[in-house]
């Protein structure tokens, strides 16, 4: 996990309370990364993160590495971060644009949650798709009617788009 934090922003006295928290979170992501997850802020915007999540073992997304973007809005942590898949993924709760249907990213958000917990939740979502609360309705339908076939498609997409060995996304 690569992390670059402009020196000038660390311990900067003019930082607001919110910025302090962001820096703190970032530091911790570096010091103690969550398994299978990386998050690195842009040099010019500490609120914008490049994220990768490895597909969980035993899921149709195994062996895939998915790119995501994460943005911390001004109100963070009072408002949830905005997270989006950049890599195409065949998942009932993630639509074609990469938007994610996850309660903690919406009404269940709590300021006690963090970037790490959000990303872990996203990772968990890959392990446990929830077609009953779909975002991509066709995928959800597919999962409901024929889960095995749907998982096959997911694996294919993972192979096709999230295979780091091929370097294609």
């Amino acid at each position: 996990m690569r992390l670059c934090i402009p020196i000038s922003l660390i311990g900067c006295s003019s930082c607001t309370q919110n910025e302090k928290r962001i820096i703190k979170e970032t530091e911790r992501l570096v010091a103690d990364p969550a398994p299978g997850i990386t998050a690195s802020p842009h040099d010019d915007n500490l609120r914008y993160f490049d994220v990768t999540i490895q597909g969980p073992e035993g899921s149709p997304f195994q062996n895939g590495v998915f790119n995501l973007e994460l943005f911390l809005p001004e109100e963070y942590p009072m408002a949830p971060p905005k997270v989006r898949f950049l890599t195409k993924i065949y998942h009932p709760n993630i639509d074609k644009l990469g938007r994610i249907c996850l309660d903690i990213l919406k009404d269940k958000w709590s300021p006690a949650l963090q970037i790490r917990t959000v990303l872990l939740s996203v990772q968990a979502l890959l392990s446990a798709p929830n077609p009953d609360d779909p975002l991509a309705t066709d995928v959800a339908k597919h999962y409901k009617e024929n889960e095995e076939d749907a998982q096959r498609v997911s694996r294919e997409w993972t192979e096709k788009y999230a295979n780091i060995n091929k370097g294609v996304n």
Partner: protein, 1112 residues
């Protein structure tokens, strides 16, 4: 006014030159002939040449025409460009015009009549101001020559030849016309010529002649008769020697003649004018400003002399100079306009003394630069002044400047030679030199100038140097900080109490025994009360006054008592506070120490009272009697003496009624904003003659109002002799600052509203702005001024704390219950009841609380160490107070449910949260390790910032003292509540406290402690005199432009630590705009912040309102 009366005379540069000797007859009969000659009247006169002229020594400036002409000049309707006419004086011009008019046509009289009444002429009794004694000055031979003038337009009233020829001596006599004999006599005027005026001219006075009115040379051969300038009493003071300089060989009626007249002063001129007796004095009380006959004649004498000097071209060398005279003339002009003008002055109410309200006129205020000039001279000699060691009984060490002050005060009291050499000439006098009489065309330049002095105001003349003098024992001790317009009080920290205390102890001596007689007599009067036992009478009657009375504002009484106590050895001084309901019998108190034998062992007596007490005693004294006014004091000291600056106030009158040998006025602002403020002090000091209002008015106030530097100059000279001024930033003998105060570190902290506060404020601001706009559209701004001010006040409150404007909404904060302490076990119990399963967790939390006293627990929201942890009572989860309250506010704003951030249990309410407060390390051991407190107090941005700062200070300085100022007592309530919650010892000082409680509050605040103490002061109550040097942190919660005086309570003599001052300003609020207005220094702000919304308005105020609403 007819043409003929204005007919100007011509001017002559040399009387021998026949061509130029054109005389004009301004007599009505010859009016037409004069017009052509009016051209270019004065330009011919070249003053510089005057001494070089061979025969006709000083070239005489001739003034134009008649009295009306002069009148015009004065009042500016005629050309004012007469500056090129040198004048001995124009100060008397107005009275001069009366003068002339009386002796000429009756129709003239009416005009100046009006001005006469307004003209304040020094009443006769003030003559004593002139220190001059007729001098024997042997080296001056009387009559002494003072000049010569020409009468260029004399004319003959007869025809024929042989009557007169050139160089004939001309007899100058008073006109004997008797049409108005009484006036003429009173005038003391001497007429020229024995002949009657022809036609309508009834009289021709000397003055008239000087005015170039037609004068007639006798057609008879004149002898060397002398015509005397005669006073009312028949004593002439001048002699005139006339000489015919040009005449036609054959006289015709109306022929022009030129006569030169030499003027000589007689010895009698230097005999001082008698002072009128006491009966006049009593009369003056009732008809102040009206003249007695005597005064009138004196004034006329003055006018005549000045006119004479002007005509002969005699000008002062020093003192009243030409420039000043010019403005003096304007003064005279303004004089008559003043009465009307003053009626238009606004009246407003001021508080003087102890809350006595009086109406005062808004006179013309003094600018700061004026004040600087006024004080400049008084301070000029101060650096080299001697020092004096205080008496042995004095326990404190005086600083250099204090020793100087003691020396100065002591010398004033003892009547020793003035500590400050007053070598200035008396401000009202001018110095003249006798001109050398031209003798055969040459002037002896080697001869020393012989000097004489003239008081152009009184007409007195003297051969001796008139020193500016002092004749009261006492003076003004002006000790103050840097000037600032909000100055309320002098800087006690400069040690004025100490200085006075040193004086009292060092200069005990009863005055010279000469006054014993009167003193005992006065005692007797008091005894008529039959109030005292007989045996005391004797003692009292025989002993001179020895006690000192100190009058001070109520709030400072205790401070005086304390300081005097502190500065003296025990038993040497006996201080009695004579104030309040149970006033002791003053006589009994004083008599205790009045035994002659015991005199040296007995303590010095000091009685301290308040202005309020004095005023009420004075009211009482009018009916029966009051001991304060019966006793003759050795010394009376007025503290904050500007309290009685209004001479008509009850306080001032009471103060004037005190009887004392020595009088002192201590004040930071002898002149608050008007010169008349000074008058009251002078009156108290009995500094004659200035203690007479009419005198003060005519020589100081009026000239000042007319922009005449003379007014200021006179004040300077007065102050030089009786005022000692000390400022914090003045330098001592060694060039060091006389007071070396520690640094003052002022910071302004700009704060941001919390979102909720911002919302509240913005909505209030919007509605205020809307209503402002509406009012403006309807043009009702001025009418609704009060309403707008009220809105502004509300906005200002909203900046401080939302609850100050939303009382009905949220009563919690305004009436918090106790200190909100919650019992831990109760909390746990409640939690357990809610959820049996959580028992274990609850116990863990409880243990955790105990263990975590010093530990660092991370807030789940900010991921930082919790600063002020709060517990969500439902689940015992913890967060920073700030974090969770912000979160709850955000949720409420979005309309979402509020839940615990950690476990999403909800809903939770702000007021349910429980704070964990760590008790102060120094608090009693009995207390539990932690205190839980309900979060039922809503803070505000400013309040939070304050508490935060206090905590920060406490962490480095566990026993600090801080002072918090706010203008709003309701905000002080909130601050106090917050301080209580934060376990700060706090004290409250505001206007509702009586003297005793104020005193006890301050004492308690000063008491040594190892805990921090915070004093909350209302700005209005804390302005005067408080000494809070024990503190060195100052927090200004609002109103910070007014902060200098407040800060100076702390930053003053006695302060040995750096003083940290912090102003809190919330960004983007009315506060910032107020700052902008402050820069404009306008009345609105003062008024808005005084809280007094009066229904007055001026364009400037409206302008300010616009700024307030962000429009300019």
């Amino acid at each position: 006014m007819t043409d003929s009366e204005q007919a100007p005379a011509l001017f002559f540069t040399g009387s021998d030159d026949e061509d130029m000797a054109m005389a004009l007859d301004s007599n009505g009969l010859n009016a037409e002939s004069s017009t052509a000659a009016r051209v270019e009247p004065q330009r011919l006169f070249l003053p510089a040449e005057s001494d070089d002229e061979e025969e006709n020594i000083p070239v005489i400036p001739q003034k134009r025409g008649s009295s009306l002409d002069i009148y015009n000049e004065i009042y500016g309707t005629a050309d004012m460009d007469t500056a090129d006419i040198p004048r001995a004086s124009s100060v008397s011009a107005s009275s001069m015009s009366e003068y002339i008019s009386i002796s000429s046509d009756s129709e003239d009289v009416a005009v100046p009549e009006s001005s006469r009444k307004k003209q304040t002429v020094p009443p006769a009794k003030k003559r004593r101001l002139s220190p001059c004694i007729p001098s024997a000055s042997d080296n001056i031979r009387f009559p002494v020559y003072i000049g010569e003038f020409l009468v260029p337009n004399a004319w003959s009233s007869i025809s024929g030849s042989g009557y007169v020829k050139i160089n004939d001596i001309v007899n100058i006599e008073r006109d004997t016309d008797h049409s108005r004999p009484s006036e003429q006599v009173e005038k003391g005027k001497k007429a020229v010529d024995k002949h009657k005026a022809n036609g309508g001219k009834k009289q021709v006075s000397l003055v008239a002649m000087l005015k170039a009115q037609p004068t007639k040379v006798s057609k008879k051969r004149t002898n060397d008769t002398i015509v005397r300038l005669v006073t009312k009493k028949g004593v002439g003071i001048i002699e005139l020697h006339g000489k015919m300089t040009d005449c036609p060989s054959k006289l015709t009626t109306g022929a022009n003649l030129i006569v030169s007249v030499d003027v000589y002063l007689l010895r009698t001129a230097f005999i001082p004018v008698n002072t009128t007796g006491g009966d006049d004095r009593s009369r003056a009380i009732f008809v102040e400003g009206l003249e007695t006959d005597e005064e009138k004649s004196l004034r006329e004498r003055k006018s005549a002399i000045l006119k004479l000097f002007e005509v002969v071209g005699l000008r002062p060398q020093a003192g009243v100079t030409d420039d000043q005279k010019k403005s003096e003339r304007e003064v005279q002009g303004n004089d008559s306009q003043r009465t009307q003008a003053s009626r238009k002055l606004k009246k407003h109410v001021e508080i003087v003394g102890d809350d006595e309200e009086i109406e005062v006129e808004d006179g013309e205020d003094l600018s700061k630069s004026d004040l600087d000039i006024i004080y400049k001279r008084a301070q000029y000699h101060d650096q080299g002044m001697g020092e004096m060691e205080p008496a042995e009984s004095f326990t404190l060490t005086l600083r250099g400047y204090q020793k100087q002050a003691l020396f100065w005060m002591d010398s004033l009291e003892s009547g020793k030679k003035s500590a400050r050499e007053a070598n200035s000439m008396h401000p009202l006098w001018s110095e003249y030199a006798f001109p050398a009489k031209p003798d055969g065309g040459c002037i002896d330049l080697t001869e020393d100038d012989k000097l004489f002095y003239l008081n152009p105001y009184s007409g007195e003349m003297s051969l001796d140097f008139p020193k500016s003098e002092r004749n009261c024992k006492g003076g003004i001790l002006a000790v103050k900080l840097l000037a600032n317009e909000f100055q309320f009080s002098s800087d006690v920290g400069m040690g004025k109490t100490i200085m006075i205390s040193a004086l009292i102890q060092s200069n005990l001596g009863p005055d010279e025994l000469v006054e014993q007689g009167t003193s005992s007599k006065q005692r007797q009067l008091k005894l008529n009360n039959a109030f005292r036992p007989a045996k005391h009478r004797k003692n009292k009657a025989s002993s001179p006054p020895s006690a000192t009375l100190i009058v001070s504002p109520t709030s400072l009484i205790d401070q005086w008592a304390e300081e005097i106590e502190r500065s003296s050895k025990p038993g040497t001084v006996k201080t009695v506070v004579w104030h309040g309901q149970n006033r002791d019998d003053l006589n009994a108190v004083l008599e205790d120490g009045d035994d002659d034998e015991k005199r040296h062992t007995n303590p010095i007596q000091i009685v301290i009272t308040s202005y309020g007490t004095l005023a009420s005693e004075h009211a009482k004294a009018e009916k029966s009697s009051s001991p304060v006014f019966d006793v003759e004091w050795l010394r009376v000291v007025l503290d904050e003496a500007h309290s009685c600056k209004n001479r008509t106030s009850k306080t001032a009158k009471a103060v004037y009624a005190l009887r004392a040998r020595r009088r002192w006025a201590v004040t930071g602002t002898p002149i608050v904003n008007k010169l008349e403020d000074l008058f009251s002090l002078l009156k108290f000091l009995e500094f004659r003659p200035w203690s007479e209002f009419s005198f003060f008015n005519s020589f100081i106030t009026l000239p000042f109002l007319a922009r005449d530097p003379k007014g200021i100059e006179v004040v300077q000279v007065i102050l030089e002799s009786i005022l000692l001024r000390r400022e914090k930033n003045m330098l001592d003998n060694d060039g060091k600052k006389i007071v070396d105060l520690p640094l003052k570190d002022i910071t302004v902290e700009n704060l941001e509203f919390s979102p909720m506060e911002r919302k509240i404020y913005d909505s209030m601001y919007d509605s205020a702005k809307r209503s402002f706009d509406q009012l403006r559209a309807k043009g009702l701004l001025s009418k609704k001024y009060t309403h707008i001010l009220a809105m502004l006040m509300r906005l200002r409150r909203a900046v401080l704390h939302p609850n100050l404007v939303f009382t009905e909404n949220d009563e919690r904060a305004l009436s918090p219950v106790g200190d909100g302490i919650v019992d831990v076990n109760e909390l746990i119990k409640k939690f357990v009841e809610n959820d049996e399963q959580s028992n274990v967790f609850a116990e863990a939390v409880l243990n955790d609380l105990d263990d975590q006293v010093e530990g660092a627990l991370e807030c789940p929201i900010c991921l930082d160490v919790m600063e002020t942890p709060v517990i969500v009572p439902e689940c015992l989860h913890r967060c920073c107070k700030d974090c969770i309250t912000t979160y709850i506010a955000t949720c409420e704003m979005k309309g979402e449910e509020t839940k615990c951030p950690t476990c999403s249990r909800g809903p939770i309410k702000q007021s349910d949260l429980v704070e964990i407060v760590r008790p102060l390390p120094s608090s009693q051991k009995l207390q539990p390790g932690l205190i839980l407190r309900r979060n039922d107090f809503t803070s505000s941005t400013k309040l939070t910032a304050l508490i935060h700062d206090l905590h920060r200070i406490r962490s480095t300085n566990p026993a600090f003292r801080a002072v918090v100022f706010s203008q709003f007592t309701s905000f002080l309530d909130l601050i106090e509540t917050a301080l209580k919650r934060e376990q700060f010892d706090h004290y409250r000082y505001d206007g509702t406290l009586d003297v005793k409680r104020r005193h006890s509050v301050i004492t308690a605040f000063k008491e040594i402690s190892d805990r921090p103490k915070v004093l909350c002061i209302s700005l209005k109550a804390g302005g005067v005199g408080l000494n809070l040097t024990v503190a060195n942190y100052v927090f200004m919660m609002d109103c910070w432009w007014n902060s200098a005086t407040a800060i100076d309570r702390v930053h003053r003599l006695g302060q040995d630590k750096t003083v940290y001052v912090k102003h809190y300003i919330v960004n983007n609020t009315i506060e910032g705009r107020v700052l902008r207005i402050q820069k404009r220094k306008t009345a609105l702000v003062k008024e808005a912040f005084r809280g007094a919304g009066k229904d007055k308005e001026d364009p400037d105020s409206i302008e300010n309102l616009k700024i307030m609403f962000g429009e300019s």
